[in-house]
Symmetry: C3
Subunit: 263 residues, 3 copies
């Protein structure tokens, strides 16, 4: 029994995700299919890369993750298999796996080139259904990944900006807005090691600021801007019981600075 | 093989539900995970309580239901296990289970306090992933619920207003708006027992009224306001082939009166 | 192990799809339930018919498809079982299966009339839960479809307009807008057989036109209107990396003409 996850920008109103599921179950009837998300904004490869990186680590070893956000479908961009952190990943080689690979270097990279593991007829506009889904299903049924094609030297890479750690401050940015409107930054908990998290720590985003880093949203009153270390180990800005992104008019890319008063 | 359902306010665009699924399948690979809904409006505990109450009764005995709408995550609110109606429920103790418990008193209440059944590292902002999901997975794998922690005396309660039955009328309110815009009230079919449902029965909501209680939406012409006893055994107001909530500008909390002419 | 798919207009925020899943798993615990979509626009039977037709062919033989878009629930419209293309279909008889049946004539049609395979108590407003879901679950558990009721002579039919093929042109229309805003027409690839697809082919939709039929969206620059043969073998109009339906203000029903210059 193998787990196959799906991460796409297909939305809920189309048949595209269902077609992939049908293909997978036709080839490997015992596959357990899990949706990570089909609500990636259309063609937003970066968002898909982050979602997959956030979700994958919680799945068991040997899970097969398929991600399809593929504006270059039908052009000469490659399709790729990667073994990363004891799991399997299949995606277009457009940077979608680069967030995962940044954290954990791939053990194996293969370019999908063996049509024996694709649908007999391959369209030019839906390789998710015609190549990635059948390849994943064959893996779920026990295929050795080496059979999928020749080695690939390196993954296509996206620029993932890092927060800059300085003596009395960390300069970062919002990299995700979650479904609650919480602003999730690239400032990680280890960047705070040994520094105060009480009211001597000041977090500034745009024209807004808040002092102290809390453990829980509910430690402050409703409507308060609060900084917490969130469930991914990164600094988040939230408004208690409200949507920070909407209230503050802040989104992905906005700079966030964490500064300490002279101690 | 155990069924584990999920009801959350995580939305479709985040990785939060997927992370819970990964945790569950890591601990209990044979669990069958069913989404009840991830589209509860953010932090709307009442809506989640109603959804779970509406859905749970249709699942088999021994189903494990996990619900996460948890604005107080990380504060001192408890996490709770409840055995209700031969099924298992896991949720923050913030009233989320009080709609179910109002109908069927829990046979067993436990406060989740045994970290052996949690993830090794527990964040302060995502107890759904770190405590509820692993506890549910251990139950799915056969754990005795008594191992999860000590008994809890009573559930946190929300006020669920009842319709008032009077000699010639019932005074109720809209308690849910469904995905079609139908207005679902707290007036139940048993409150109508022995009373006429023909055109002597008048249903008033806001400035709108309609006579007679029908069996099916399609018994009246498109665009007509119609009262029916819906699939949950409660009085509903609908506009045939249209969205009553939008057309009438009516929502949860709006009073609905069912009155009978002098018979 | 049987696959049961669901296609409905219930949306993500209601308990209706979950109730159907609970009913199915109560009767057939080993059923593998796959969502095709719950985001059919409310009561849009045509859209559901297209979605189901698009998705079903990718599923294995013997898959059981349940579709519930049912504005006539509780009236005298029939509920129907159809065997089409080695798969099973259950739906209200309101045209929902007519798109499938247009392509592949049903081998068997049955009117659901045997209450032994329904829930003991049947509501007047939710036959998806009370009749279709249990009938599907009994099929999944091995029931002979002939037990569900007497033969039905013919399906309710919707008008599915065909493109008109003429000597130097094909006159068609947009029949679907997908989740990317791509405009999918009823002009099929076989209508192009033997004709040029290079820049002598002109596609006109509304006041917009584009020359040549491409293999992939990404063959043209971002923002370009492009015609491709899509993954269902039909002519599509897309704007590269953008939403054609929104940009052009075009939707289902808009005429699309493919014309060839005198060759």
């Amino acid at each position: 029994m193998s787990i196959v996850t799906l991460t796409t920008d297909f939305g809920g109103g189309s048949h595209y995700a269902a077609a992939m599921k049908g293909v997978i179950l036709s080839i490997c009837p015992t596959a357990v299919i899990v949706d990570i998300s089909h609500d990636v904004p259309p063609q937003d490869v970066r968002r898909a890369a982050l979602l997959l990186d956030n979700a994958a680590e919680w799945f068991p070893a040997e899970t097969i993750h398929v991600a399809v956000v593929d504006p270059g479908v039908g052009t000469d961009r490659a399709l790729v298999y990667a073994r990363i952190g004891r799991q399997h990943f299949l995606a277009p080689d457009n940077g979608l796996l680069s967030r995962l690979a940044r954290r954990t270097p791939p053990e194996k990279l293969i370019r999908l080139a063996e049509p024996a593991y694709w649908l007999p007829k391959v369209s030019t506009t839906f390789h998710g259904r015609d190549i990635l889904a059948p390849a994943a299903a064959h893996l779920a049924a026990g295929l050795d990944p080496d059979r999928l094609g020749p080695p690939l030297e390196r993954l296509c890479w996206l620029d993932w900006s890092e927060a800059r750690v300085q003596p009395a401050r960390v300069d970062g940015a919002v990299i995700e807005v979650d479904s609650f409107g919480n602003l999730i930054t690239n400032i990680t908990s280890d960047m705070l090691a040994g520094r105060p998290t009480d009211r001597r720590a000041c977090v500034v985003c745009n024209i807004f600021e808040t002092w102290g880093i809390y453990h829980a949203y509910g430690q402050q009153a409703s409507g308060t801007l609060v900084a917490v270390i969130g469930s991914s180990g990164r600094l988040e800005l939230a408004i208690v019981r409200d949507n920070a992104a909407k209230r503050l008019g802040v989104g992905v890319g906005s700079p966030v600075t964490l500064a300490w008063e002279a101690i």
